[in-house]
Each structure stands twice: as structure tokens, then as C-alpha cells.
Amino acid sequence: MLPLLESMTVLQLAITIFASPLIAFAILSLSHHKVPRHGDWLAITALFVSFICSAEIFLRSFASDNPVMLNLSYSWLPLSAKHSLSGGILIDHLTAIMLVVVTLVSFLAHLFSVGYLHDDIRYGRYYCSLLLFTTSMLGLVLANNLLYLFISWELVGLSSYLLIGHWYEKKSASNAAIKAFITTRVGDVGMFLGLLVLYDQIGSLQYADVFAAVHFSADLATWQTVAGLGLFFGAMGKSAQFPLHVWLPDAMEAPTPVSALIHAATMVAAGVYLCARMLPIFDAQTLLVIAYIGAFTAVFAATIAIVQVDIKKVLAYSTVSQLGYMIMALGVGGYTSSIFHLTTHAFFKAGLFLSAGAVIYAAHHEQSILKFGGLYKKIPITATCYLLCTLALIGFPGFSGFWSKDAIIADVLHYNLVGSGHYFLGFAALVTVFLTAFYMCRQYFLTFFGQPKDEHLHSHAKDPNWTMTLPLIILSVLAVFFAGGGHWFPEYAPKKSGFEQVLQMTASEANTLELSHTPTAGKHQNSAAHSSEHGQIIDAHKLAMMLSTGLAFLGILVAYLFYYQNSKGQTRFSAQKVAERFPFLYRLLVNKYYLDELYHFLFVRSLHACAQECQEFDRKVIDGFVNLWAKLTMMATALVEACDRIVVDYYLVLGLARSVTRAGNRASALQTGKIKAYFVFSMCSVLALIIVLFFIV
């Protein structure tokens, strides 16, 4: 494949991918203040090496028919005959895709950061955290068992926390970091419970063992549901799905490259990755829950995004919405479409975030889109890249997002068409298309077209240097062309639901699996492959394409009418008036459905009140008891002390010593030193013995 890497084995490549950011992290965390430029060149080089090796694996993986390239385990903690923990790495198509996505976006984010953060006071620390994140993320996708995945999962959470709180002098940044960490921890509790259930029931956390156990044993049914819901709860936290999405918009306090890398492309996709990886263990009810949560999140976040004015917050809600898409696709069995969308989304959303970063950089860290305007001429490269990525996100025909979103919508519509009901899913998918087009174009029009709102800002804006524009250009190109004609990906992509991987992992049981696999798979179809329903799928695709394209154009049109300013600075319709017409709805959206307030009331306030009650209780009752006890103890101690002093010391210890001294003094009189006296004493004893023997006994 790649010329220099042909001699390397897959294992060597995988180790290089994982080790090079790890080594760079180790070196920089110890000595970033000693190397020139705080070692950003080292981090970028390490990431580049990782990326090249990932690309090699990607090419090899898709050139071979064998879905599993490497599944290597070693016994890590053999606890008992039934339970054991193993470590290991797994490289299949899914891993290969994720590796490329992670290393490429990470590499570009590193490169972008050179310009974006060039005068930051914690420049070295920033790169260390980024490297830690990348290493953990690579560990997450390379793991072949849930335990290593969980470890990496927590590590990416940690690095996310560090990076959100990068400017921790800002109260809002440190609060956002804590909020992100705690909210994802709530999800992680569910995930950990899922892991415990699986480990308890199956005795291993290897993917292969788990899939085989789930597939072959019927008595696992209830536990399977519990474990599936638990794992999905973890994914909800990480991928910011509906009840746990609140941390992601606040996480925009992080530096923009971090938002691009972690909160748009990779870490938030980890939840989708987990669900995709674990798809075989979800049963029908769990999948339905997943689909509904994803669909609801998609619409819900898109509606909030309509009224946001912070350029990054709009993108954040857009991310939540798109993640909802992916989750929904997984829920209806659209494994391939979900991963497809994950990949394209990673590129165009990272491109959007980095472009937004370039805009913010040009605007001297102003983030409100209401203060931008007319920037198109000042920063043409950024504006072009932004436009391309926006079109990809909207699903403009021919762009990568179009194909992947079409695949998802087709899966959802097909799910509806086969007569399962649940029309809400299809409805949500289509409404979201419209909303996405609307809010993205609104943002684009407000930012780049129209009259400048802030002259000072406008006059100083200029395109950044190449380290920042190069990533934008690369990502924009990928956003346009990555999906090609939209067909190459599904053909090479992992089939659905991971059963093929099970087949590979437990090769000896391939035949039995093949037989039992067919009817189960029929329940969650997605695209090509299965010829019996091929016609329906084609129908679904046609329908999806037409509807989504139409709705996207409608969204663009509405945004144009409301937000495109002509040369006089006027729009066709006034968004202001609409907002005044529906004040309640507007306030609801601006305040994000008051969810933060609700959470604050439900959890923070109630916890606070509870804590205060506890404190009162603690202070009055427990402290009082403790003090009382202390007083009693003091009194008892005084009593004991007196007793000790008088009885023990004076009478017992000293008295004993006195009597021993007295007795010793008396007895020493016996020790006359005169040998005759000793004779007399011993003879007296003999005589006494005689008297006793003869006269008493």
C-alpha cells in the first residue's frame, strides 16, 4: 500500500499508532518547558506518524476480504476458571475507520493549534493534554475488550476535562469542565453497571466472548437487556444524548481546536462507536429505546440551535443533533450508515469548528454571530471552507454529508416502510434535515454576508497563516469528496451488527453461526446485501434522497428569506417579528428548554438543600453527641485517673514495691554470710520435716 510501510506487520503498525503519541506525551509531560516551542513540533510529528500508519492499516483493511485483520489477546488477570480479564487489540474495518478519523482530525487539530494558541501561557500543557487525549482515544478504538475500552473511555473523559478547563481562570470554563466531567460520569455509572453485568454473566469482557455468549445462550435475555441499556447509558453521556446532552454546549469553553477534535469529531463519537461495536448485544427493545432517544435528540438539539447566537454553541447543538442521527441509525439497525455518517461528520464538523476557530481568531475572540457580518471578503479562504463544510452538513447533493445522511434517512424510512410503525423516527429525521439547513444557513448568512456590525472587528479581520488554513482546506476537501459517489463506503464497510466479526473471532463455530444468524439479521436491515428486500431499500433510498434534498433546500430558502441581508442591510422577513409573535417559544428555545435550570433545580438545589439539612443534622445531633461523649469520656478519664493515681500507683505499685523492699530487708538478715548459720537453717528444715512426717502426717 504505502511504499515505506509495506514491510511492517499489522501488529507493528498498530503498536506504532498507539505508541507514538504516547511516547510524545511522556516526553512532553516531563519536559515540555525544556524543549523549543514547548514541543509542539514533537506532538505534530508523532501524530503524523500515527496518521500514516493508520492510513496504511485502513488501505490494507479495505483491500482484503477478511473483516478482522488482527485480534490478539493476552491473559491479563486470570481470576478464576469462569472469570478472567484479558487485554488485547482488535483491528477490523470499524477500528481502521476510527483510527484514520482520530489520527487525521487529531493531527489537523494539533497543526491548527500552533497558530490558534501561539501565545497561550499553557501552551506546553495544552499539547500534553491533546496527546493524552489522542492516545486514550486510540486505545479506545484499538481495544478488543470492554475493560480496556472503559479505561480509555475514562481517560478521554479526563483529557476532555483538562482541555475544557484549559483557561481555568475563567469561572465559566472551570464550571463547564466540572459539568462535562460529572455529566459524563453519570453515564459512566450506567456503563460500568453494564460491564459488571456482562462480566458476571459471561465471565469475560472480550468482544468475541461477549458476542458469542449473547448469541448462543438464551438464558441471558434479561441480563442482556440490562447490560445493553447500561452500556447505552454510558454512550448517552459521552455522545451527549438527550437527558445528558447538557455538558456539550458548555464544553465550548474549550479552545476551538479542542472543540473540533474532542467535542465534534472523536470523543463524542466514542459513544456511537461503543453502540456500533456492541450492536450484537442490544435486543429489540433496547434498540427501540436507542432509536427514540437518538431521534428525539436530533430534533430537540436542532430546535435549540436555531436561536443560538454563539457561533460555537450553534455548532455544538448541531453536533448533538448529528450524534442523535447516528444513534437513531444504530437503533434501527443502520450500522453502516451510522459509521458512515460518523466518519463524514467527523471531517465536516471538525472543518466547521476549525473554520469557526479561524473566524474567532480573525475576530479577536469574539464569538457572537450577531457581531459578525460581511466577513466573506475579509477572510475568503475561511469563508470558502466554512461554506463547503456547511453544505456537507446540510446534505447538499453531492457532498459527503448528503450520502451519509441519505443512508441514515433511508434506513429509518425503510424501518418505517417494512411496517414496524414508529413513524416518529422518520418524521424526526426529516424535520431535522430542514432545521439543520435552516440554522446552518442562518449562521452562515449572519457571519459572512450582510453588513458588518462591528467596524473595528471587521477592519482587522484577516485570514490566518498556513498552519491554520491548511487543516481547513484538507477537511473541506474531505467534506466534499470523502464519500465519492456515496457507494464505496457501504461496499467496504463492516456489514451490519458485528456478526461477521463474531464469525471471524470464533472461526470454529462459523457454520452454526451462519445458520442462526440469518433470521436475526433480518430484523434490522439497512442497505444493500440482502436481496430479498432489495427493492424496498431502493425505494427507501429514493424517497430519502428526494425528501431530504427538498427539505434541505427549503431550509436554505427560509434562512435566506429571514437572514440574507441585501446591500441595504435588510432582510425579506424579520426574524425579530417572528420571535415577538411567539415569545414563549422563543424564550423556551433561547433558554434551551430550561433544562439547565431544571437540572439545577432538581439536582443541584435539592442536593444543596439536602446537604444543608445534613450539615444541620451533623452539627446539632452528631456533633452534640460527639461532644457529649467527649465530656463523658473526660469525666470517666478523671475518675480513672484518680483511681489510677490512688489505688494503683500508691497502694498497688508503690505499695508492692514497699512491701517487697521491706521483705527484702528482713530476708537479707537471713543472709548472714556465716556458713554455720546456713548449716543451722538447713538442719532446722530437716528437723521440721521429721516433725511433720512423724507427728503430723
Binding site: V680, M683, L687, I690, F694
Partner: protein, 177 residues
Amino acid sequence: MEQDSLMLYQTYGGANISFWLITLLVLISGGIAALSTNIVRAAFSLFFTLFGLAGYFVLLGSDFIAVTQIIVYVGGILVLLIFGVLLTNKQKQPLESPRSWPLFVFATVCLIALTAVMVYCACVFPSPAINQNYVAINTAYTLGRMLSGSYVIIFELAAVFLLLGLIGAAFLVRRAD
């Protein structure tokens, strides 16, 4: 019956007379050894006492022990005592002072008490008969077998004890330089 008593008279007469003669010797010489103020005389008198005890052992049928008594006590211990007298008897004034009467009374009380106990026992308990089968174990051969047999530990301990005595005595009398 008459014949038997005559034989008994002849049989026991010699032994009994010997016993009384020896007893006379032992008591007189023992009294001198115990009470004489002249230590040399006392030591010399002790010689007769020990000899008399050897005679008792013969009467009790242990000729080997009797001979050992003479060799060890008369030839060893007594000579040692006399050497001690010679080495330590240099002072001008005689060592013996007037008797201490309370101690003398105490010694007499002890004498009377112990003897009385024995006489009382003689009146209360009959004397057991003499065992006639004693000769077999009283030869030097038999005793030697026993010493190297069931009494070998005693034998070894005695050897160690004597060695310790030898070294200890030599250590004690060396002049501290």
C-alpha cells in the same frame, strides 16, 4: 531346732561381732574427727572412720565398694585434706576458740533427734531379710557391665564432672598475676 539355733549362733556370731567392733571404731574415731580441736588429729582420725565404713561395706557384701572406699577416700580425699591442712595451717594463734554452746546444744539435739527417729523405726518396722542373691552383681565385672550399660549416662556425667572439678580446681588455685 536345737541344731538350727546352734548353727545360727555360729553363723551370725562372727558377723555380728565384727559389726559391733567396727561400730565401736567408727563412733570413737568419728567423734574425734568431729570434735577434736586439733585439725591434724581430726584428719588422722577420719582415716579410721573411713576404714571402718569400708568394713561395713564388706559386711554388707560389697567388697568392691569397700576397696574403692579405701582407695578413693583414704588414698585420695584424706591425703588431699592433709595437704590442705599443711598449706593453710600457718597462723600463729590456734584457730579453735572456745566452743559455742548454742551450736553445741543444737548439734546434740540433732544427734538425739536423728537417732531417736531411727530407733523408733527399728521398733515399729521389722527389719527386712537379707537378700542372699547379692553376690552375682557385686563383682567388678558386673559393675563394669552396668556402668557401661544402663548407667552409662551417670558414668559419662561423672567423667565430665571430674574433668570440670580438675579444671575448676586448677583455675581457682592459680595465682592472680
